[in-house]
């Protein structure tokens, strides 16, 4: 008798409708507010420009309205290379960032232990260009010059 009563009882069913409603609403809310940008961070330090002789490469990149001027210490003395803009310097793309990245790779090959670069920025240099110069100097895999020191001209 007992067993028969158990058999006739309805099996309880989970009502999924409220759960589905809630999940759908959450998904809609997240999709509406989604900004599919991914953010990262890049480190730097602040330093005063220095022209005093020291040890190592002492790589400096001067960024101004005419392009880049790179200077570094070599066994023959202080070396300098100009990397002017292709046309008039304006947007970030007009600067020779590929040339700067090539120079960073070249210097990194010659001086693999040196990792510091000092950026000397003119007053009007926008942060977007500063970030691009830092990218070019870090190189692929952050192997070239990842320790960036920022300073004025």
């Amino acid at each position: 008798m007992k067993a028969r009563r158990r058999l006739t009882m309805d099996s309880p069913e989970l009502n999924l409708v409220p759960l589905l409603d809630m999940v759908s609403l959450l998904i809609q809310l997240l999709l509406i507010n989604a900004q599919f940008g991914v953010f990262a961070e890049v480190g730097a330090a602040l330093g005063a420009p220095s022209s005093a002789p020291g040890e190592g490469l002492q790589l400096q990149i001067h960024v101004n309205g005419a392009g880049f001027t790179a200077s570094w210490q070599d066994k023959d003395g202080r070396m300098q290379r100009q990397l002017p803009c292709a046309g008039p310097c304006g947007p970030v793309e007009s600067y020779d960032l590929a040339g700067l990245a090539a120079l960073a790779a070249e210097l990194d090959q010659q001086h693999p232990d040196d990792q510091v670069v000092q950026l000397r920025l003119d007053a009007e240099v926008p942060f977007e260009l500063t970030a691009r110069v830092m990218d070019a100097m870090r190189g692929p895999g952050d192997r070239a010059f990842p320790d960036v020191v920022l300073g004025g001209p």
Binding site: L16, L19, L30, V38, F39, A40, A44, L46, R138, G152
Partner: protein
């Protein structure tokens, strides 16, 4: 002769048909997967302030994840420390600039005080750490060095010499599937 309703046959046929139950399991699985994906996406680049027209982040190939600390936000119109406005910038059609007379010995006095206060608040009640304090700088990409320099020197005057700039990671974006299309 029996009097039958014209719909009786159809009603009887409907009664005979088995009740079709919608299987919701697959749909729930899919929705939960989407929810997990979205929550993961949100958790990856958590930011207190969302970029706006006045705060467009610079693009970069950097991929280091964000860590929360004292945050200085420099938009085209103002400078804020941890969401508290400190100084309004002069912004027109060109790049923004600092108002006249706010820079003293290369630093902005009000900003130095605000950063020092914030650092003190963050250190309060926590054990002394060996690591040097750092600030996270969220900066509009059009901001010139004439603004960035005094901001960094102000942080330096408050005892912070290491800065981390928040950038829009192009490498991670390039590797991620483009959901906007």
């Amino acid at each position: 002769m029996s009097h039958r309703s014209p719909f009786a046959k159809a009603r009887a046929k409907r009664r005979e048909m088995p009740m079709v139950e919608l299987s919701l399991a697959a749909m729930v699985d899919m929705m939960i997967n989407i929810l997990i994906f979205l929550l993961h996406l949100y958790g990856r680049g958590a930011m207190v302030t969302q970029p706006s027209d006045d705060l467009q982040l610079a693009g970069s190939t950097a991929t280091a994840p964000l860590a929360l600390t004292v945050t200085i936000v420099v938009s085209r119109v103002s400078i804020a420390v941890d969401s508290t406005p400190v100084l309004d910038l002069v912004s027109g059609d060109g790049p923004s600039r600092l108002p006249d007379g706010v820079v003293d010995h290369g630093a902005i006095a009000g900003l130095t005080d605000a950063i020092a206060r914030d650092l003190q608040q963050q250190r309060a009640g926590k054990p002394a750490q060996d690591t040097a304090p750092e600030v996270l700088v969220q900066m509009d990409k059009r901001t010139p060095w004439s603004v960035l320099g005094p901001v960094l020197r102000s942080a330096s005057a408050a005892g912070v010499d290491n800065y981390r700039f928040i950038v829009s990671s192009e490498t991670a974006e390039r590797d991620a599937p483009d959901l906007r299309r």
